[in-house]
């Protein structure tokens, strides 16, 4: 059974995390150095988050439908995304096993991977504050 019951739950947790990161004074500018727009397409439940990280521009995170044209598209189960933010997914292994699929200039995203590690505790804390211990045990 999937961790998230519907797209709204995906947006409430993973979506909010992306919004927090985009607004973060320290991390936001680092992410915008990637100078790209990424769309995360999740299955089970079907959901979609599009993140604009363009150098010199404000960040933007669209939950669901969007007018933004993604340059990179990452496809995965929502469960995989959730486990990634808990620090339990090795991206290279997930790519090798096809659990994550990346279309487009993947390099722009891969260089962000080392940057997101400090974010894992923040995601866990968000789940804790929401009283979702069940999700922390993924």
């Amino acid at each position: 059974m999937p961790y998230f019951k519907d797209a709204d739950e995906v947006y409430r947790f993973i979506g909010r995390l992306f919004q927090d990161l985009s607004d973060d004074e320290e991390l936001g500018p680092k992410f915008r150095k990637a100078d790209t727009t990424v769309q995360y397409q999740y299955r089970n439940p079907e959901s979609q988050i599009t993140v604009k990280m363009r150098e010199g521009e404000e960040g933007q995170v669209d939950l669901g439908e969007t007018d933004m044209e993604p340059e990179v598209v990452m496809t995965m189960e929502a469960d995989t995304a959730h486990r990634f933010w808990l620090g339990k997914v090795n991206v290279t292994v997930a790519l090798a096993r096809g659990q994550m699929k990346a279309k487009g200039p993947v390099a722009k995203i891969l260089k962000l991977v080392p940057l997101v590690k400090p974010v894992f505790p923040r995601y866990r804390q968000m789940l804790e504050e929401a009283g979702r211990q069940d999700l922390q045990e993924a």
Partner: protein, 406 residues
């Protein structure tokens, strides 16, 4: 005198949570195989063959021999594409696919070095599945059955006859081609890109100039070294890396000193095909942008960058240094002492090989300016292989590594 180390003990320790090893290529190696290219390729389902090569190789007469061998085996050669440049591009791949389609081909044969073989792989994919080379970028993204979750769909039969001993592309599922517009190298990897057949015959490297034999041989050595210490290392690849390194130890400098040494050239072809893996590390992450931005030949960039990455990695912990101890043993170097001493010995050995073979030793000798370092470091950080390096580098680390290599 220090006791001889117990070779093998370290290599067999531990058990990983996950590893994957695939090898989808039938390899034949030996003498006088070009004349039976058709006989062998027919077994892989080829009938109407489109040959992909470059003008330098074609001028040597090698392609004529291969063509005769194909026809002798009852195959038809429907076209020859000889426009692959040293650093091939997405545009060349698309053009190659288009010409193969127009010629009515049903199979591809690459005769050349890494650029030719990688071009042929991507062209075959575009030929079979449509779309463009630019759209093919990514890992494990080729079309699959069952709504993308099932078996990858095959591409037209593909065979390769490598004319350099280094790339290993003839037995790998990876391809790298340049996107000239964005000045980046696109990396594409998926199981169908394994050529179905690789023909390793020293006759195909008979006209290889010593300098290119040296550079491509250093590419093979870099694969063996990086593949062994990569986070993606596994026992299957370990065996190949160590045997490849031993063969490179015994044959590379021989093949460069005497380009008529058929035995050394043949063994280097086998070594290169053993060493290749897509689980590499920071040397390749540094070399890819050197090629994309400044046109540094891949083998030369690897040769220059490798010693600096070895020293950096060896300082990253005992586990990493222990892997280098294994390599030192294969190369007959002292494997004891501190972590940094182990790395330094291996790096110094590699630098000695580069100098003896007359290759450039600094990036500044091959057109890389100091002001190019920030862009190179940015490119290296964005290279997927950085995530597989045993010691996690920061962008500042890369800046320092490029400074040392300059």
């Amino acid at each position: 005198m220090e006791a001889a180390p117990q070779f093998g003990a370290r290599q067999l320790s531990g058990f990983k949570d996950f590893c994957q090893f695939a090898h989808g290529t039938r390899v034949i190696a030996g003498r006088d195989l070009l004349s039976s290219a058709g006989f062998e390729f027919a077994k892989e389902g080829a009938h109407r063959v489109f040959v992909v090569t470059d003008q330098v190789i074609r001028a040597t007469g090698l392609v004529d021999k291969v063509e005769a061998g194909l026809m002798d085996g009852g195959l038809e050669v429907v076209g020859i594409f000889d426009e692959v440049p040293q650093d091939s591009s997405t545009e060349v791949c698309d053009r190659c696919a288009e010409q193969a389609r127009a010629a009515g081909a049903d199979a591809f044969l690459a005769v050349g070095g890494g650029s030719v073989i990688d071009t042929t792989k991507v062209a075959d994919s575009v030929f079979t599945h449509g779309g463009s080379a630019r759209e093919s970028e990514g890992f494990y993204l080729m079309p699959r059955a069952d709504d993308g979750m099932g078996a990858p769909l095959p591409i037209a039969p593909l065979a390769a006859i490598p004319t350099t001993a280094g790339t290993g592309s003839e037995v790998s599922m990876g391809a790298v081609v340049k996107d000239h517009e964005n000045k980046v190298k696109l990396e594409i990897a998926d199981f169908p890109l394994f050529p179905r057949l690789a023909i390793l015959d020293p006759e195909s490297t008979a006209t290889l100039p010593a300098a290119i034999a040296a550079a491509t041989g250093m590419d093979a050595l870099t694969h063996a070294v990086e593949g062994y210490v990569s986070l993606d290392a596994n026992p299957y690849q370990d065996g190949r890396s160590l045997v490849a390194l031993r063969m490179i130890r015994d044959n590379l400098e021989r093949a460069v000193e005497d380009t008529s040494d058929e035995e050394a050239r043949g063994n280097m072809l086998i070594a290169a095909s053993l060493a290749i893996t897509i689980g590499l590390g920071s040397t390749h992450s540094m070399s890819h942008p050197c090629g994309a931005r400044f046109g540094v030949p891949h083998g030369v960039a690897n040769a220059i960058n490798l010693p600096h990455v070895i020293r950096f990695n060896a300082g990253g912990g005992a586990d990493i240094a222990d892997r280098y101890r294994d390599l030192n043993e294969v190369l007959g170097l002292e494997s004891g002492g501190s972590d940094s001493a182990v790395g330094d010995r291996l790096a110094t050995h590699v630098e000695g090989m580069i100098e003896r073979m007359g290759l450039p030793t600094r990036l500044s000798q091959v057109g890389v300016p100091e002001e190019g370092i920030p862009a190179l470091a940015d490119g290296a950080m964005g290279d997927g292989l950085t995530l597989l390096n045993p010691r996690e580098p920061t962008e500042e680390d890369y800046v320092e590594l490029f400074r040392r290599a300059l």
